[in-house]
Symmetry: none
Subunit: 425 residues, 2 copies
């Protein structure tokens, strides 16, 4: 009885699992009978949840605006990307394990090969993957002019991150990476992208750093050895995606001490989790690739539910299938996710809420992220059950949640969990 | 014929009654067959209005954000609480009848008892209710340093309000009230909550005022008498909920001279009505408690419709039932409201619109305000009738108004009434 609930507890609180199916949303596919992969997949668990719960459509940021995985997840966790996100650099730096502070400016980097005329021969230095840690080591912790310090760390394969720390820096500088899929373009000089002193200072620091890096890399025995073995030397650094680190208020502070954890094999989502103060669960069997291990993810989520209020479970494989245009694979992965959710639903503590949504759509016909809204279902005690009985793009457009933003979705989930704060008295 | 109407009148205008059912929204309740109190209640009038009108869901402020009664009503009347609301103090000051002006800083106060060491013995001074007006009188109209004037007025029982008036004051100062339900905590010193000169000045003024108040109260014959009678003396003032008075543009100025009035037995809603320039109808038979007198409210509303364009009728009892977890009582009150609306509908002038909604949800299972949206129905000439035939949380989620905010709702009503202003030409 309601009355009892109120007397026994100070405030009614519930746990929740939030399943993020990367790139889930899609468009009708002719070969699937004009259905989406989600609509064509056999998903008894998801449909039961739709039937017993409430569904709707979520625009992660706003209608028609495609989001990256980073921005999509920030929105899904109730953050305004305009406030906490200014480029991919800081996310990658976090993912690479570099300590960063508000005001730092971070860049994604590639080890690359340039010839004597500054023409990029290979944007990935022959996809170098040996000796990268050693090369990164000599580029780390370098003091530049004007009291700027550069920290550098390797990421996956030929990738790395650079963090500049100093007073009055700006992310508004151009890339040294000429970009493009074809090599043969010149490495670009760093230009300030606005007239502020911060952009000028950052451009100066970055140019100085890149010159030092070229010199150190050219002299390094690993590169001399690569040339002797007929391999392309990693003799320069290409920079792109500069972003300034902003202060991101952790979820715990925003929502009444809520304890959050994330299960994801993908570095970007792990970085978002760290940035927002979630515990991250790392396991070699949990990857961000096609080899999706639902059973392992389910048991990790259930384990984390003991000491956490909200557990995020992320699946990347659907997005990869969307990018590759493989609607058949996407459908199959969704069916495996249905089994994973079945395991979570059957074994989570009583009254645990389960919400399922996505960071963005990746329609197979596009092969890229799109601005289509994503389907959402919220299941568990307290939700206002609507009339929809399946979990799919079209049924969700008629659901009880209506059409909401990613931020709205998270606030609704937080409110159902009992962690929201009243506006006014 | 429309053409005629346009020719005869300068602009088509209609009157409206807006019924605000406090805390109406709820969640499915097992004992009611997984229906909400509104869905379970027998409401032939409300359902007929849904059938002949248009329904939808309203997020008073934004999805998932619980609102207080004050903020919920400001939103329902089309105001942005971020612009006109900075704390409960000014609302209470208005409710207590104090004249306030933009720039004033107002606080909610308690008369309380402290011992010689500054430890709060009773946050309510033994729930003092005799002599309060006299004690409040000696604390009123005191000139402090730096040209700050303090006004003080009693509210209900041990409660009171304090208004500081001066140049450059700020609401960002801490509470002297240690809060909590248990006594035995020390009265808190007033600290500025930011580094502005305004916060520093306000903290100084408030500290000075509280010292003067303690001295005046200690010497007062009423307190000496209380001690002799074995009662706790009201020997100090506890302050909390500081808010600055902002300029609130009256409804009349915002919407083409619209004349508004409110029927409410609750001090908070009466204060919001005053703040927004509505006439308030006060009557001892109209209360903000369980003893809801629908017939009296209906006749008051009908009377006010003569000289007003918009009449707000507020019912508090549903919110009380939600707080107490009494779904059965909530259902019964809603059935009484149905009768009240029947009376209004049958006797209001031709073409009067009736809108019914709420300031927030107070689900019985939570016993507190929640961020669930509230159902809305608008009935009368001009509305686009949708397919819904009942007034309930689920049916409203499928209504023709969609999912809108409180501000959207009010603008829609104002537009149907013919008081909206064109943007552009």
């Amino acid at each position: 009885m309601c009355y009892k609930l109120r007397r026994e507890e100070k405030k009614l609180k519930r746990k929740a699992v939030l399943v993020s199916i990367d790139g889930l949303g899609d468009r009708p596919i002719h070969e699937l009978g004009a259905r989406t992969p989600l609509e064509a997949a056999v998903t008894p668990t998801l449909d039961a949840m739709a039937s017993e719960g409430v569904v709707g459509l979520v625009d992660p940021y706003a209608p028609g605006i495609p989001c990256g995985t980073d921005v999509g997840h920030l929105c899904m966790l109730g953050y305004d990307p305009k406030e906490v996100y200014s480029g991919r650099g800081p996310i990658e730096a976090m993912g690479a394990g570099l300590e960063i502070f508000p005001g730092d400016v971070a860049f994604r980097c590639n080890f690359a090969t340039v010839d004597n005329n500054g023409i990029v021969q290979d944007r990935r230095a022959g996809r170098i993957n040996q000796g990268v840690t050693e090369l990164a080591g000599i580029l780390d912790n370098i003091t530049l002019n004007e009291n700027v310090i550069a920290n550098f760390a390797p990421a996956t394969e030929h990738r790395a991150v650079l963090v500049l720390r100093g007073v009055g820096l700006s992310p508004h500088v151009s890339d040294s990476d000429p970009g493009g899929k074809n090599e043969g373009m010149a490495i670009q000089p760093i230009r300030p992208l606005d007239a502020t002193e911060a952009a000028l200072k950052t451009a100066r620091a970055l140019e100085q750093y890149l010159a030092i890096a070229r010199e150190l890399l050219n002299q390094h025995p690993i590169n001399k050895q690569r040339i002797m073995s007929g391999l392309l030397p990693a003799n320069t650094i290409l920079t792109r995606s500069g972003g300034i680190v902003t202060h991101c208020i952790p979820l715990k502070e925003r929502f009444d001490g809520i304890r959050c954890a994330a299960v994801s094999g993908e570095i970007t989502v792990q970085a978002i989790a760290k940035m927002t103060g979630m515990k991250t669960f790392i396991h070699p069997g949990i990857t961000g690739s096609y080899d999706f291990n639902g059973q392992l993810k389910a048991s990790a989520a259930l384990e984390l539910l003991h000491d956490n209020d909200l557990v995020l479970v992320h699946v990347k494989a659907t997005d990869l299938a969307g990018h590759d245009g493989r609607w058949d694979a996407k459908k199959t992965i969704i069916e495996q996710i249905d089994k994973m959710v079945e395991g979570i639903k059957a074994n989570s503590p009583p009254d645990t809420l389960i919400a399922i949504t996505a960071d963005h759509s990746t329609p197979c016909e596009v092969g890229e992220h799109s601005g289509d809204p994503v389907p959402v279902v919220i299941w568990g005690k307290g939700v206002r059950v609507d009339k929809q009985v399946t979990y799919g793009e079209t049924s969700c457009s008629l659901g009880g949640l209506g059409r909401i933003t990613g931020k709205d979705f998270f606030h609704i989930l937080i409110d159902l969990m009992g962690f929201s704060k009243k506006l006014g008295a």
